[in-house]
């Protein structure tokens, strides 16, 4: 993936967030404060504008601009969380071309940033329940020598499973934690938005979009 691929993928992600705005908000209505879709779509609309206005020389620059835009425009918890994820990833992606192992290293740094920012871990019904299985899957694929395309197809399945898994656990972080057991049976909205991003990456790398 070069800088232009990164821009193209980020635009696809922005489209998918916009297209799923109602769905994400619906998930957040059940266990949060009904603003996840609205907040993220506002953030990614600003990202689209930024991508058209600025010029970028490396994939990391695109992620950094995305991060800073999300931090200043989202207006809810997902701003600092996705902002931190992309910002920490951007620091690891200085080269002109991203390879699968590079992406794994960057995602690992991003996840550590999210864990620190949210003081959270896996199994607390947060976006980490998608991001961590995705990272594990990508690392395994990289070790097995799979192509980025195949690796992301597998990772998209891991992301979907991560979303489904959050139905079976109680939220202990974020607004949903006030619901206790009543958060059972619902997909975490942050997991779903992360899942949409991974699926967009898989479709892009697979040449399907």
């Amino acid at each position: 993936m070069n800088v232009n691929d990164t821009i193209a993928l980020m635009k696809l992600i922005a489209q998918d967030i916009e297209a799923n705005k109602e769905y994400l908000t619906q998930l957040d209505t059940a266990i949060g404060d009904a603003d996840h879709g609205i907040n993220l779509s506002r953030g990614f609309a600003a990202v689209l504008k930024k991508l058209d206005e600025a010029s970028f020389s490396a994939p990391g620059d695109v992620l950094k601009a995305t991060a800073m835009t999300l931090i200043s425009t989202v207006g809810g918890a997902s701003g600092p969380l996705y902002g931190t994820l992309f910002l920490k990833m951007s620091g690891e992606l200085k080269a002109d071309e991203i390879t699968l192992p590079d992406f794994c290293g960057a995602l690992e740094a991003g996840i550590q940033g999210v864990m620190a920012r949210g003081r959270s871990a896996k199994g607390e019904k947060t976006m980490l329940d998608v991001l961590i299985p995705v990272l594990d899957s990508l690392k395994e694929s990289a070790q097995a020598g799979l192509s980025a395309k195949d690796a992301f197809d597998k990772a998209a399945l891991a992301a979907q499973e991560g979303c489904e898994y959050t139905k079976t656990i109680i939220a202990t972080k974020g607004r949903a934690s006030y619901l206790g057991e009543r958060s059972l049976g619902h997909i975490d909205p942050g997991c779903m938005s992360s899942c949409l991003m991974i699926k967009a990456a898989a479709e892009f790398l697979g040449g399907r979009r």
């Binding site: 404060d33 603003d35 907040n39 931090i71 200043s72 425009t73 207006g75 809810g76 918890a77 701003g79 600092p80 969380l81 902002g83 931190t84 920012r117 949210g118 972080k173 974020g174 607004r175």
Partner: protein, 127 residues
Amino acid sequence: MVSLILISHSPKIVEGIKDMLDEMAKGIPLFVAGGNNAGGLGSDYELIKDAMHKAHSPDGVIILFDLGSSFMTADTVLDEMDDAMKSNFVVSRAPLVEGAIAAAIEISFGANLEDVQATLKEMEMMK
């Protein structure tokens, strides 16, 4: 004087607390950041960053917040500060309303950062 910052998801919450503190501890360096930039519910990075930069004092700054998004946005602003500036800020997990009253009264009597911190420490809650 120690500065105090109140951050909430709701502009009305911090404005309401500010009204109370104006009666009890008038004149302390008090800064609030509530809601989004349109006056609705949310947490606005620029509003919070602005309050934190205005509140910056060599005597120290106490930050009180309500929800995770308020905390994480403030934490993001802190990450961007240099270490010297950052070290002046203390984020407290005391309840927003009660913590604000306790801290404001201490500050109005000239307490230093450590004293205010010690008072708030006893009030900390899970959040």
